[in-house]
Subunit: 243 residues, 2 copies
């Protein structure tokens, strides 16, 4: 059977039948390489495709009329991206590769067939989408009601926990692979202020850095500062239909 990044990811949450795995693998039949900085989807473009991200990192973002950018989400391998195009014929957000990536595009109609034939997979996608929504609300609360330092702390913890889902080798450090400007655009700050916060947290011994790598020295305290809760630990899909 073809390897499927996405099926592997789902299977960590809930057992999948071979038929389901095979169906999911079909979504990844057309891998496409894209260079760092390459545009995968441009806002307002007519879109009929979705993607599974197999390798590398991708961000979704919007540019406001005054030129400022809001990064909506950073995606990692195994993520299902561009799902907004299931409801809108024009992309509400842009997608750009943050590193060299491999994405697997597939057509809306392939998704339709999948949903028809594998209701359980449809249910799973529904749930996954809800998880994304909750992740969004966490960041919404951070932007609306927390300090710059808290936002940086929770942002780092979120990246860390999400990376650890697919990479068991991660213990207490990870490659951020984002500029401070990109961090700022994710959490509603300027790059200048992100720098000051990171620097301050470094001086306080909360984190360390060595050539782009972030080391989380005091996770408990970071969680406190960022009002962070790891949602990934609380996922409960036991009630789902068994295959």
């Amino acid at each position: 059977m073809a390897t499927s990044c996405f099926a592997e990811r789902l299977a960590k949450q809930v057992p999948l039948s071979d038929a389901e795995k095979k169906a999911l693998a079909r979504l990844e039949e057309n891998p496409r390489k894209i260079k760092r900085g390459g545009m995968i989807q441009r806002v307002n473009d007519t879109v009929t495709e979705l993607f599974v991200l197999r390798e590398g990192r991708v961000m979704s973002f919007v540019i406001l009329p005054d030129g400022s950018r809001q990064i909506l989400r950073v995606y990692f391998p195994g993520d299902f991206i561009g799902s907004a195009s299931t409801i809108y014929s024009k992309a509400p957000e842009s997608l750009v590769a943050l590193s060299d990536v491999i994405v697997c595009p597939f057509d809306k109609h392939a998704l339709r067939r999948l949903l028809e034939e594998y209701p359980r997979v449809a249910a799973l996608l529904f749930l996954l989408s809800n998880a994304e929504r909750v992740a969004m609300t966490d960041r919404l609360a951070a932007l609306g009601r927390t300090s710059a330092k808290a936002r940086v702390a929770s942002f780092l913890l979120d990246m860390f926990d999400r990376l650890r889902v697919t990479d068991d080798s991660i213990v207490d450090s990870f490659d951020l692979k984002l500029t401070q400007e990109e961090i700022g655009d994710s959490i509603g700050l300027t790059s200048v202020h992100v720098n000051r916060m990171i620097r301050q947290m470094e001086q306080e011994g909360l984190i360390s850095r060595s050539n782009g790598r972030i080391i989380l020295n005091d996770m408990a305290r970071l969680e406190e500062i960022g009002h962070y809760t790891n949602r990934l630990k609380d996922i409960d899909l036991d009630w789902l239909p068994v295959s």
Copy 2:
């Protein structure tokens, strides 16, 4: 056939078979009245239920450790609420009635059965969840990257457009039914500053107010100020399986 608020809502986007309508109606078999201010779901409570909101208004929110509140979403009749409990056994957000309301709770397992038997409905729920996610990203961009005035403008327009989906009588005004503090908690401002912005917009002739009712005098300009786009106009579900 029993009336179903939710089915009616969905049917505006895409035709439903009678069987599907009937199945959706079953979700609303247990209407429950709740008084204004009543708690429907408390954060961290163990939850096994979801709700269809049949009448009135509900908000979802979180309280941060310092006591500040972030309102995540205001819901209107026909909305599907509490769907986070499909993935988490503990509620990630609280739900409170903003007015006297009628909600229809149903168990996760009823949803499971629905998803199994009506794949097309599962697909629809998946799409609806994606729409919520996009609405969230719009607000995220507003909180992260726009001014107080822009946030108020886009907030008012969003309420307006969402109310108009189910209430054809709305032309250019609507009852907000929110205090200025609640508006502030929705868009990451203090009630004091919300007041100043509203007042300023009133003086500029952009809006008017009369006993709690908001009149939008210059929608074009409000959209410009708020960088607002009405997502509801662009929904395209033609590609969905036909029933």
